[in-house]
């Protein structure tokens, strides 16, 4: 029987990686990811798994190093945050283009400047077009489950793409939660040893990462896009298998009291749990509100999202990053353009909220929804607003 334990989520993430029996990890420390790096090194140093733990000199090297190891057929992991992810930026699209399975945990943190170690999503949003599969976890349980799922998805020979699992820094990584860990045997059954499609080995020499001239570059980009879109099938299949084995259901778009809602709030990551309480309060006041939680950011689940929001009158999209000089936050831009051709669609309102660790308690969600509802009734919707920001 699987056991439940109280554990800090960052530590739990490393435990999940250990359960996956990785062959190799290369990690460079950065707050608030460091506990993952430290605990993973404990797991290796104590001989709980047989893996190479490469203590690299930078994130540019951690991502390059795990890519080299993945190309030999190893199961590899890295984790980072904020400036570390920004430092990897150059290499991220190469990893996906080369179809190298890599799993990366990202402890979401604001990017400089000003320098700030606290939580928002401004680190992952600039990586949007890197061609990775991108998940957001809401709870410690999801971090553990989705870490294990990520390896199975990344290494599937129909996918062969890197996966980034986002977990909010501090709010999630440093919170102690009650988490159910699957047994090692069950994980081994769910996630057998990696069977790579092609590897770097003298017995069958191949060239990886060759030069693409204009005659081939565009085709290679298109096929990569198709591969990412197609990965949805495998993601759903893996989630079905997970539910069958472990009983917990995963969907690309989660909802809470959304079926009959006129007003919907959309969140990503750990804010969802707080937002649920706000929805409960407003429901008590008689407002028909509901919550939509986006778990899968890339490939974007267009059909699933459209189906969930089409009956609503107003959709409030929260963004935890800024697209300077753009028409709103990155999540809002994505969703608004996705809904443009729909006959049935809600008004879309954008609130930029919770930047750089600014706390968003229940009362703020309540206020945000009430104010947006008022302007929505009048049909006046500004492109985007910063919630509760001075000046």
């Amino acid at each position: 029987m699987a056991k439940q334990v109280g554990m800090e989520v960052g530590i739990a993430a490393a435990e999940a990686v250990g359960l996956c029996n990785i062959d190799m990890a290369a990690v460079y420390p950065i707050t608030p990811q460091s506990h993952i790096a430290e605990h993973l090194s404990d797991i290796v140093a104590d001989g709980r798994i047989d893996a190479e733990f490469v203590t690299v000199e930078s994130e540019h090297t951690s991502i390059s190093c795990v890519s080299g190891a993945s190309a030999t057929g190893a199961r590899v992991y890295t984790a980072t945050s904020s400036q570390g992810l920004m430092y990897m930026h150059e290499i991220l699209p190469i990893v996906s283009a080369m179809r190298l399975p890599v799993v990366m945990g990202n402890a979401n943190r604001a990017i400089s400047g000003p320098i700030n170690i606290w939580n928002d999503h401004s680190d992952i949003m600039p990586q949007r077009d890197a061609g990775w599969i991108v998940f957001f976890a809401e709870s410690g349980q999801e971090v553990v489950d989705m870490t294990i799922q990520s390896f199975k998805i990344a290494e599937d020979n129909d996918v062969m793409l890197p996966v980034c699992l986002n977990m909010d820094g501090f709010q999630l990584t440093h919170t102690v939660e009650l988490i159910e860990f699957p047994d090692q045997k069950e994980v081994d059954k769910f996630l057998p040893v990696r069977k790579p499609f092609a590897t770097l080995h003298p017995d069958h020499p191949i060239s990886m990462g060759t030069l693409g001239m204009p005659e081939i570059y565009a085709e290679s980009r298109k096929s990569q896009d198709e591969a990412l879109i197609n990965s949805k099938k495998t993601i759903f299949k893996v989630w079905d298998e997970w539910e069958e084995m472990f009983g917990r259901r995963y969907k690309p778009v989660e909802t809470y009291l959304a079926e009959d809602a006129e007003i919907l709030l959309l969140t990503m990551g750990s804010m969802g749990e707080t937002a649920e309480i706000a929805i409960d309060e407003l429901r008590k006041k008689g407002m028909r509100v509901g919550l939509v939680k986006l778990r899968l950011w890339r490939p974007f689940p267009f059909e699933e999202l459209k189906a969930v929001v089409k009956k609503a009158k107003l959709l409030i999209v929260t963004d935890r990053a800024v697209s300077f000089g753009g028409s709103g936050g990155p999540v809002f831009i994505e969703i608004k353009s996705a809904l443009y051709h729909e006959k049935e669609r809600p008004l879309v309102y954008n609130s930029i909220i919770g930047l750089g660790g600014r706390d968003v308690p229940v009362r703020d969600f309540v206020k945000l929804i009430e104010e947006a509802a008022k302007s929505g009734e009048k049909g006046i919707i500004k492109d985007y607003e910063y919630y509760g920001v001075r000046g």
């Binding site: 290369a26 203590t55 190309a71 990462g209």
Partner: protein, 325 residues
């Protein structure tokens, strides 16, 4: 018997006839880097995986859907050959230990140009060497960023004109001395460091073979003549490589467990002018400037000789790479 038949008779005893870096690649005529790679691969043999940084050699060898590589080969970016190579090493090591690949000694080898090594790749190289991966790193030093059009690097020699250190009316060519990366590698306590040149093919291949046997990191710095960037005649590549050694501009030595040894000894050095005057990149130099370069070359050469005569091997100290293996 024709010369070619003679070659067929004797060469296989000295040199692997198999090509691992194949003809048909797109390097310029007389490219010293391409020749160096060809020899390097022969010395390494088939049980090798190459990690290549962006630069001339990656570009000329890997036009999709063709490849010049008969060895497993990977390229990600410009500055990370050492990082990718160390990942390859870690991957091969753990998979071999776990019985997932054949139980054979496959060597990870990282290669990059002077730009990819001495400038933008310095951090990744230093990190990999400090961590002590069982990996050979070969720097193909043609003394500029050739792939992007002959821009200056920290490997460009003093006075050389490049497209970003031009011979202008006021400032003439590069104003700084070449960075000494082999010394930086020695300072990392790398068990085997050597300089090499394809103009001395057997010296070069012997060094590659030695480096391949090292259990731990090794570094070879290979001066590779680039006729396009040096403004030299393509048929002079071998000769220029030899002149670099004969003038003391680029001495060939190795440092084994801390012990320096000249592998090609010169009774007397030729004047640097013999080397400089055959290259368009030094055409603008005045006799005074050439004299300054001569003085520096002599000084550096003497410094090196002091080390050759003065420093002992670590093996006297029973040095071993790695404490627990």
């Amino acid at each position: 018997m024709s010369i070619i038949e003679n070659f067929d008779l004797f060469a296989p005893k000295l040199i692997d006839k198999k090509e691992y870096f194949c003809p048909g690649h797109r390097a310029c005529q007389g490219c010293g880097e391409a020749l160096a790679i060809r020899l390097m691969c022969k010395a390494l043999g088939p049980d090798t995986v190459i990690a290549n940084g962006t630069g001339c050699m990656e570009v000329i060898s890997s036009f999709y859907p063709t490849t010049a590589w008969e060895l497993p080969w990977i390229h990600l970016a410009f500055e990370n050959a050492a990082a990718v190579g160390s990942g390859v090493e870690a991957g091969l090591k753990v998979l071999r230990r776990k019985g997932r690949i054949p139980d054979r000694d496959v060597k990870a080898v990282a290669i990059a140009g002077d730009g990819g090594t001495m400038d933008i790749g310095m951090q990744a190289l230093s990190g990999a060497m400090e961590r002590g991966h069982d990996m050979l790193y070969v720097c193909l030093d043609n003394e500029a960023y050739m792939n992007t059009g002959i821009q200056r690097s920290s490997g460009t020699p003093m006075g050389a004109s490049t497209t970003t250190s031009p011979a202008g009316k006021v400032i003439q060519g590069k104003q700084e001395w070449k960075k000494n990366v082999p010394e930086i590698m020695v300072a990392h306590n790398v068990p085997y460091v050597a300089t090499a040149s394809p103009s001395y093919p057997f010296d070069f291949m012997n060094k590659v073979k030695k480096a391949r046997k090292v259990k731990g990191p090794s570094y070879i710095h290979c001066l590779s003549v680039c006729p396009t960037g040096w403004r030299s005649a393509s048929e002079e590549t071998i000769k220029l490589g030899r002149l670099a050694v004969e003038t003391g501009v680029f001495p060939l030595y190795e440092v084994e467990d801390g012990k320096y040894k000249m592998t090609i000894e010169m009774d007397e050095l030729r004047p640097v002018e013999d080397y400089l005057k055959r290259q368009g990149r030094f055409r603008h130099l005045t006799p005074e400037q050439t004299e300054k370069i001569q003085a520096k070359v002599s000084q550096e050469y003497n410094k090196l000789l002091d080390k050759v005569h003065g420093l002992h091997s670590w093996s006297d100290l029973e040095f071993e790479w790695g404490l627990f293996e």
